[in-house]
Amino acid sequence: MTSVNLQVNVGGLLMKNPVTVASGTFGYGAEYADYFDVSQLGAVTVKSLSLEPRAGNPPPRIVETPAGMLNAIGLQNVGLDTYLKEKLPYLREQKCVIIANIYGNGPDEYAVLARRLEDAGGADAIEMNLSCPNVHDPQNACGGGLVAQHPDQVARYTEAVKQATRLPVFVKLSPNVTDIVAPARAAEEAGADAVALINTLIGMAIDPETQRPLLSNIVGGLSGPAIRPVAVKMVWDAARALRIPVLGMGGIACTEDAIQFLLAGARAVAVGCASFRRPDAAINIVRGMEAYCRKHKIDDINTLVGAVKV
């Protein structure tokens, strides 16, 4: 066997391999340049961008948990203008494929973000963050909870962004639902090019000594290997129900983890907080995937997608 094809097409976004990073775990790419050539990833997904800079929540913002962590950062980011001026040039110089994760207050802001990113050449695909558990903006209240918990709202937000841009649009969904298929289908029917799942599971940790929550935000989002089986199952559910691709994530730390997601139906995967532990986790998974394919005599990684034998 001469070569292994690792290239995938996620809703119109061509990635030279099926590995990106989860928004918020990789900064704007340059932060990890000391450790490896970030352009070798299938794509770099940047920290959630809002129209204006956001200060985030007061500390403490993170708590270590068994095989994972809780975070309540609250989308602290530099804002769209600074991203375009100061962060984007590096990513373009390095010839990175860019997935811009966006967060707006209400569907109109999401649409503006997507349009401005496209106009400025600031993204190759848009990932709509409808599922951050750590922010509380009135326009997104939707009668309680996250936008991603209301399929009708998922459709409304997705339509607004689809009308604003020709870039591939991914909708990032929350695992904090009874049935992941409902919001996933709503996104698909509203024109989404792919769904990304899962965001963090909402959790809480209390200090028994002080008897107070360990996060200033009281609750936060759980990530890490602890949530991986939940994520694999939700990818499996969504992939069987949808025609559009699934970008799978949740607790991926090594090649074998990533392969599970592909087998469950993910077209591509994102490595999240595993990069905190090992900054080169994502690129090692790219290398590991090629080795896996050779070992299993697979010449095209796409043949693994959804190939779980049940």
């Binding site: 985030g56 500390p59 913002r61 975070n71």
Partner: protein, 266 residues
């Protein structure tokens, strides 16, 4: 530039009850490290604990660095169980070091408890760069918890001891001890220790008109400025506004930039 390397533990010794010094063979890290920077240690393979542990670099040698730590929880207990000769994955050097004055200037270092960790390296750098050994206030709960007195004295530093219980040196807190050394507008003070101590040292320095830097500690996931977990509230704007990352904009801050009142609500 930061590296991620498997490093052999060259020595690993108890220096006080529940306090250890570990010397790590880390040539690439040592060559780039500056006093006040830190490393992230992977205390065990697998995912429990999930995160690395940030540790101040104590001293920088030709091909190794030392760290000091206190056994306080799961991570440091596991670290304490590692034998000399075993290998630890180390990421570093990270963060900014202490600002070093260009000319000869009176410097006072104030270390409280395990917070003394980055000060021996700082003292060495000050001696090398300014030709003047800094004065040191070493504070701890009791005499048994005073760390690095011998090392600092050997560097030529006049060391004043302070203990909460009076078992050695000045009977009282570090800030009171610092006040007796009469810092003035031409003095630069560096502190590392409990937040309450660094805040009190800051107050003394503001009254005296002295410059003051503090090395902060925070819950930290990545050490690379990515997770935004380790922020401290500041009075001036940094790259991400007035929530500065301890790992990236710090860990050393001008104490006048720290919004100390934000610690009240924690």
């Amino acid at each position: 530039m930061a590296h991620v390397r498997d490093c052999e533990i060259i020595t690993h010794r108890e220096i006080a009850p529940d306090h250890r010094r570990m010397v790590l063979h880390a040539p690439e890290i040592a060559v780039e490290a500056r006093a006040g920077q830190f490393c992230m240690l992977e205390v065990r393979e697998g995912f429990c604990p999930f995160l690395r542990r940030p540790m101040s670099i104590e001293r920088i040698f030709d091909d190794s660095v030392s760290i000091l730590y206190k056994i306080v929880g799961q991570g440091t207990r596991l670290l304490a169980g590692l034998q000399t000769g075993s290998v630890l994955n180390v990421q570093g050097p990270l963060g900014n070091g202490f600002p070093i004055p260009a000319e000869e200037v009176r410097a006072i270092l104030v270390g409280g408890g395990i917070g003394v960790a980055p000060l021996p390296g700082l003292a060495e750098t000050l001696v090398a760069r300014t030709g003047l050994a800094p004065e040191v206030v070493l504070a701890a709960r009791t005499e048994a918890h005073l760390l690095c007195e011998q090392e600092l004295s050997q560097m030529g530093c006049p060391v004043t001891l302070a203990t909460d219980d009076g078992s050695a040196g000045f009977h009282g807190f570090a800030d009171k001890c610092l006040r007796r050394l009469e810092p003035d507008a031409d003095t630069v003070v560096y502190s590392c220790g409990p937040t309450v101590m660094m805040r009190a040292v800051h107050t003394v320095c503001v009254e005296a008109g002295a410059r003051c830097y503090a090395s902060l500690e925070a819950e930290m996931a990545c050490g690379d400025g990515v997770c935004m977990g380790c922020v401290v509230e500041t009075n001036t704007e940094h790259e991400f506004g007035k929530m500065a990352r301890v790992c990236r904009e710090g860990p050393v801050f001008d104490t006048r930039d720290i919004r100390w009142s934000a610690y009240d609500v924690r």
